[in-house]
């Protein structure tokens, strides 16, 4: 038995009890679509879905973790698991979305996890409808997730002043931690610059609802948003 097979066996062995439990649950894709809104800030799925803060999730079932041809810059932790033979299927996805960092230490997926098994079954039923074999799951029409705000190319093209960004970012660090801790307040390090800029403009235009962030974003100019994004993109 090669090392890869041994590790895969260990992973499956750990997951088996959960997998058996989860198998009893029938997921509801419609409910799952609602729960999936918690994921859609980072993950696109459906027609035209692309990699964003997280990888797009079309065809996730049956895919090897951190699959290279997928074109997403996965964390070392996830690459290691992929190399060790982790395949995304019901049981592995179920464990991952229950507690991402418990399954893959070092993953950049800053998501506290879905604790309710039925919620996980529902959201996986929804995701299953975008994979090749949606067995026993009613078809739902693919949903494309448009960006929250459409920004003119010249706004996206602004190259932020990292030094100015570092000063402006000090205001963010009263709440958001540089080590990427995600407890109660989301981590904002290591985002692709464009996603960061779009998110800030979504707050500035009051499309994203959080009042503190709306206030912070509203007083930043386009150049200042680019500067903050440029700074945080350099933190890992």
């Amino acid at each position: 038995m090669t090392r890869r097979l041994v590790l895969a066996g260990v992973i499956l062995g750990l997951l088996l009890p959960q997998a058996l439990m989860a198998a009893d649950l029938i997921g509801d894709a419609e409910k799952g679509e609602v729960i999936y809104r918690r994921c859609s800030g980072c993950h696109e799925v459906g027609a035209g879905a692309d990699n964003g803060i997280g990888p797009e999730l079309n065809g996730i079932f049956g895919r090897a973790a951190a699959s290279e041809k997928h074109g997403y810059a996965y964390s070392k932790g996830l690459k290691r698991m992929g190399a060790d033979g982790l395949i995304w299927e019901f049981a592995t996805l179920d464990a991952y979305i229950e507690n991402p960092k418990a399954l893959v230490s070092g993953t950049r997926m800053n998501f506290p996890g879905l604790k309710n098994p039925q919620d996980r079954a529902d959201v996986l039923a929804y995701l299953r409808s975008f994979s090749d074999m949606p067995q026993n799951i009613p078809e739902s029409s693919p949903t494309a997730f448009a960006p929250e705000v459409t920004l003119p190319p010249e706004v996206l093209a602004i190259v932020g002043d990292r030094d100015y960004g570092e000063y402006l970012a000090s205001e963010c660090l009263t709440c958001h931690q540089t080590d990427g801790d995600n407890d109660g307040i989301p981590a904002i390090i290591g985002w692709p610059t464009e996603d960061f800029v779009i998110a800030m403009h979504a707050y500035k235009r009051q499309i994203r609802p959080h009042p503190v962030m709306q206030m912070m974003a509203t007083r930043l100019s386009d150049e200042e948003i680019a500067a903050v994004a440029a700074y945080f993109a350099t933190l890992q």
């Binding site: 000090s170 205001e171 009263t174 801790d181 109660g184 009042p211 206030m215 912070m216």
Partner: protein, 420 residues
């Protein structure tokens, strides 16, 4: 002449001796002394060292080797936090290149630009940052003095006072009365007294359900009033009575020896009395001579620089700056602006326009959190609010829970930002 190794070393020594001349050393690195290791001072010291990358000699003077945050100390009273979770040491700041001295600063000579410590040691500075928090005004509540704090605790500087108040609440007789004498404006943490009332009510609701809470308040209105009143009615109906100035809340005397309070001439016996007196800038600001006739230290809005001395900056509760509330969040925000200004003056680094912000979260009951906040910018007169928001009455439980969880995240964020 061929330069052999010995000759080379000799030349090197001569050069070193020249460099070691006192006048040269004194100019080598600009010195910044920070007094007070709380939200303003700890942040300032850490950022001064971090952002100047060794170009500044930064010393932090703080009396206590372990800092206990005032923010979240109400959650300790309510049983939501362990006391130890409020405590932070200065190792992270020292590791960041700051010289940390655990001593009380007792004197400031602004002409000589020196600070004197309790042990007699003298520190020279090029820029001085004062972040001393608050002290209490003598005579603010007739009958109460610092000596009475062991009987009627203020618990408004976190530490043993907070532990004493918690123990007193636990020891209250069934059906007893908890009284709070709330402070007049301006004071540290505007929603703080009312969050504390909420936390005391939460504890008494289970341990002592027939107990009464009496809130004696000299103010007509207070921070987040509608949110607190709605929450008290929902979670603690009939338990809390507020006596505002219309019923003599501004004419109160306390008698620690007999555990009595006198409100507008009426004597009442109570079991616990939390006296939060009127406040002023921490004493060292007055000693330094940078305070006004009201006891606070006026600063320029664009830099937190003292209006009385261009080499002195005042942060946080002690400063008189305009619209920002006296809060840990504000002090942390102000520290970053002051650090940028100081670095600009001493090292020539770029100075960007000042931006300030504040958010105050309060917990009313388990998973019932609310918040208020604002953004600020300098005007020629003061730091002025440019936009603000506040939680709304009647919000659903999920949002209130999220707000509470957010406050926990903020605590982790600001303490790691302060202490490294």
């Amino acid at each position: 002449m061929t330069l052999n190794r010995r000759a080379f070393i000799g030349a090197g020594l001569a050069t070193s001796a020249l460099l070691a001349a006192p006048t040269v050393w004194a100019q080598a690195k600009p010195r910044v002394v920070v007094i007070g290791g709380g939200a303003g001072g700890a942040t300032a010291a850490r950022y001064l060292a971090k952002d100047s990358k060794g170009a500044l000699d930064v010393t932090l003077v703080e009396a206590n080797p372990i800092y206990t945050t005032c923010f979240f100390s109400n959650l300790y009273l309510g049983g939501f936090r362990a006391f130890e979770s409020l405590q932070h040491g200065y190792d992270g700041i020292a590791a960041g290149g700051v010289t940390v001295i655990n001593a009380m600063a007792t004197g400031v000579d602004r002409a000589a630009r020196t600070v004197t410590l309790a042990g007699g040691e003298v520190l020279a500075y090029d820029r001085l940052v004062l972040s001393p928090g608050i002290d209490f005004k003598d005579g603010s509540v007739p009958g109460w003095s610092a000596d009475a704090a062991e009987i009627m605790p203020h618990a408004y500087k976190a530490g043993p006072q907070t532990q004493l108040l918690k123990a007193q609440i636990a020891a209250m007789p069934q059906g007893g009365t908890f009284a709070m004498i709330a402070p007049p404006n301006p004071y540290r943490c505007p929603p703080g007294p009312y969050e504390r009332i909420s936390m005391v009510a939460h504890v008494l609701k289970t341990s002592n359900p027939t107990a009464k809470i009496l809130l004696i308040d000299p103010k007509d209105k207070y921070s987040k009033q509608a949110l607190f009143e709605e929450g008290w009615e929902r979670h603690y109906p009939g338990m809390i009575e507020r006596v505002g100035p219309e019923f003599g809340g501004d004419k109160v005397e306390v008698r620690p020896a007999t555990m009595e309070i006198v409100v507008d001439g009426t004597v009442q016996k109570v079991d616990v009395c939390n006296v939060i007196p009127g406040q002023m800038a921490g004493k060292i600001a007055g000693i330094a001579g940078v305070t006004d006739d009201k006891g606070w230290a006026p600063v320029h809005a664009d830099s937190m620089k003292s209006k009385m001395d261009a080499n002195v900056f005042i942060l946080g509760d002690a400063s008189a700056q305009g619209d920002m509330p006296k809060s840990g969040y504000s002090a942390n925000s102000q520290a970053k602006v002051a650090v940028m200004a100081i670095r600009g003056e001493l090292t020539g680094s770029k100075v960007f326009p000042a931006k300030y912000s504040n958010t105050c979260w309060s917990l009313i009951a388990p998973d019932d959190g609310v918040k208020v906040g604002a953004a600020y910018e300098p005007t020629p007169e003061k730091i002025a609010s440019t936009s603000n928001f506040i939680s709304k009455p009647g919000e659903d439980a999920a949002l209130r829970k999220q707000t509470y969880e957010e406050s926990i995240g903020w605590y982790a964020g600001i303490t790691s930002d302060m202490f490294g």
